[in-house]
């Protein structure tokens, strides 16, 4: 890619940051060019982010209906899935799935709740409650 063709689309996903891209100058020599982003990359990133947000919204409504425990929402709200939550808590997937049942979740011990809190980086109060809607990452 030539230096003057490095996209400078000021994409939203970079939040005013720049990435370094390898490109050639007029004499064909490689240099590092700071780029404010390529809209093609932005669309791919946004697609992934929107998919994660969709999952969190869906989870939110299922928890609100009482089908799932609040853990189910907080997992998706932290951009995790069953696999990541299982790896980061060290709990088997089947156990976590059980904890998605509101009746089972209500009876969980402090010890297990703390493991979820550590993995998700949230307080116990938050873990056991359903916020008004999925909140942004702080």
């Amino acid at each position: 890619m030539e230096q003057n063709k490095v996209p400078q689309d000021r994409i939203s996903t970079y939040a005013d940051n720049k990435k370094a891209i390898y490109a050639t100058d007029t004499s064909g020599k490689y240099t590092l060019v700071p780029s404010s982003g390529w809209e093609i990359e932005e669309e791919a990133t946004l697609q992934a982010v929107q998919e994660l947000e969709r999952l969190a919204r869906e989870a939110h409504s299922r928890v609100a209906k009482g089908e799932k425990s609040t853990l189910f929402f907080h997992m998706y709200n932290r951009r995790m899935d069953l696999q990541v939550l299982s790896e980061s808590t060290g709990l088997f997937k089947w156990r976590i799935k059980r904890h998605f049942r509101p009746a089972v979740f209500r009876k969980l011990s402090r010890k297990i709740l703390t493991r979820y809190c550590d993995a998700l980086g949230i307080s116990r109060e938050l873990l056991c409650s359903l916020p008004p809607q999925s909140d942004e990452l702080e």
């Binding site: 891209i21 093609i40 669309e43 980061s88």
Partner: protein, 336 residues
């Protein structure tokens, strides 16, 4: 605690190669990021459908995490001190004591838990690399190669990011050079590493790595035509993200490798053939970018227009052909 006034942050394309370039340069062996990447033989392609990250198959344009650190040790004779930890307390204490001794320290971390990353870039990926070069109050001073300026990170966040569990868990990994060779025989090493890397791309025994991996991916794209269009769009977006978003310096590391080949050509007495191979590699990178453009245009099409699967397959096969030519050339140049 003192900070390192003689340490200068620099902006790079990729985390692991940036960290190593900055670190060995800081220790008296100036080496560009492209040279670090090339000399460690990090160029790769792998498409592993049975390993999933966030529900998507693993697609990688470089060798596996930590292989740049290991490759430099092996190929250049740099010695690295590495520490990983069973407990976060020990890991944070060791970091503090290394900083106090005046070291700049490489660290592996998760991306998601680093607060200075923009929210849209925060995914659960645990093999990010950065340099810690000081501490002020409760904040660590961080040189993150993929950011333009140095960053600050509160201790509790860095601790969380260094000690997440799961796939590729960092286990608090810290590293720094403890032995840099006085001289490096580039005339001998460069042809060897280039030949090895080209051979790895051409002659893998498994059909999902190297150029064969690119062809396997093209077949998977054709198979998407029978699947749910929503799934197909997510898969295509995923390929583009792995290729462009994940700090690759553009075109899935093909441009950084072309830059390496150019530098190698200069060192090897202005080798004109290697210079030509660098231009071919640039062309391959450009073709990857064309593929990305095609893929995202297809995603954008929404429900109305069908995804042009044959065109996408065709483009990837062209990329595979272009790369095959470069690697064959490189094998020829470097085996003499």
């Amino acid at each position: 605690m003192k900070t390192h006034t003689d340490f200068q942050h620099k902006h790079f394309a990729h985390c692991e190669s940036g960290v190593m370039s900055l670190m060995v340069s800081h220790h008296g062996m100036p080496l560009s990021e492209a040279m670090v990447f090339g000399l460690s033989g990090a160029l790769m392609f792998a498409y592993i459908p049975f390993i999933k990250l966030g529900g998507m198959p693993l697609i990688a344009y470089r060798s596996r995490p930590k292989s740049i650190i290991r490759g430099l040790q092996k190929n250049l004779g740099i010695r690295m001190q590495m520490h990983s930890f069973s407990s976060p307390e020990k890991g944070m204490k060791k970091l503090d004591s290394l900083l106090q001794q005046g070291h700049i320290v490489g660290a592996q971390s998760s991306v998601f838990w680093l607060p200075y990353f923009p929210p849209e870039m925060r995914f659960h990926f645990n093999a990010h690399n950065l340099i810690v070069f000081g501490k002020e109050g409760d904040d660590y001073l961080i040189s993150d190669p993929v950011f333009e300026n140095s960053q600050r990170c509160p201790a509790k966040d860095l601790r969380k990011a260094r000690f997440v569990k799961g796939m590729m868990a960092p286990k608090g990994l810290l590293y720094y050079p403890c032995g840099i060779p006085d001289t490096v025989d580039f005339q001998r090493i460069l042809p060897t590493v280039i030949r090895k890397n080209a051979r790895a791309m051409l002659k893998t025994p498994v059909p999902i790595a190297g150029v064969r991996g690119i062809r396997a991916l093209s077949r998977s794209i054709v198979r998407l035509s029978g699947k749910d269009p929503r799934e197909a769009r997510l898969f295509l977006g995923h390929i583009v993200r792995m290729q462009e978003e994940i700090g690759t310096g553009g075109g899935g590391f093909r441009f950084i490798y072309a830059s390496f080949l150019q530098e190698a050509a200069t060192i090897l007495d202005n080798n004109a053939e290697l210079e030509k191979a660098s231009r071919q590699m640039t062309a391959a990178g450009d073709q990857w970018r064309e593929f990305a453009l095609l893929a995202v245009t297809a995603i954008r099409g929404r429900k109305k227009s069908p995804i042009p699967f044959p065109a996408l397959e065709q483009k990837l096969l062209e990329v595979a052909d272009a790369e095959t030519r470069v690697y064959k050339n490189l094998l020829g140049i470097c085996s003499r």
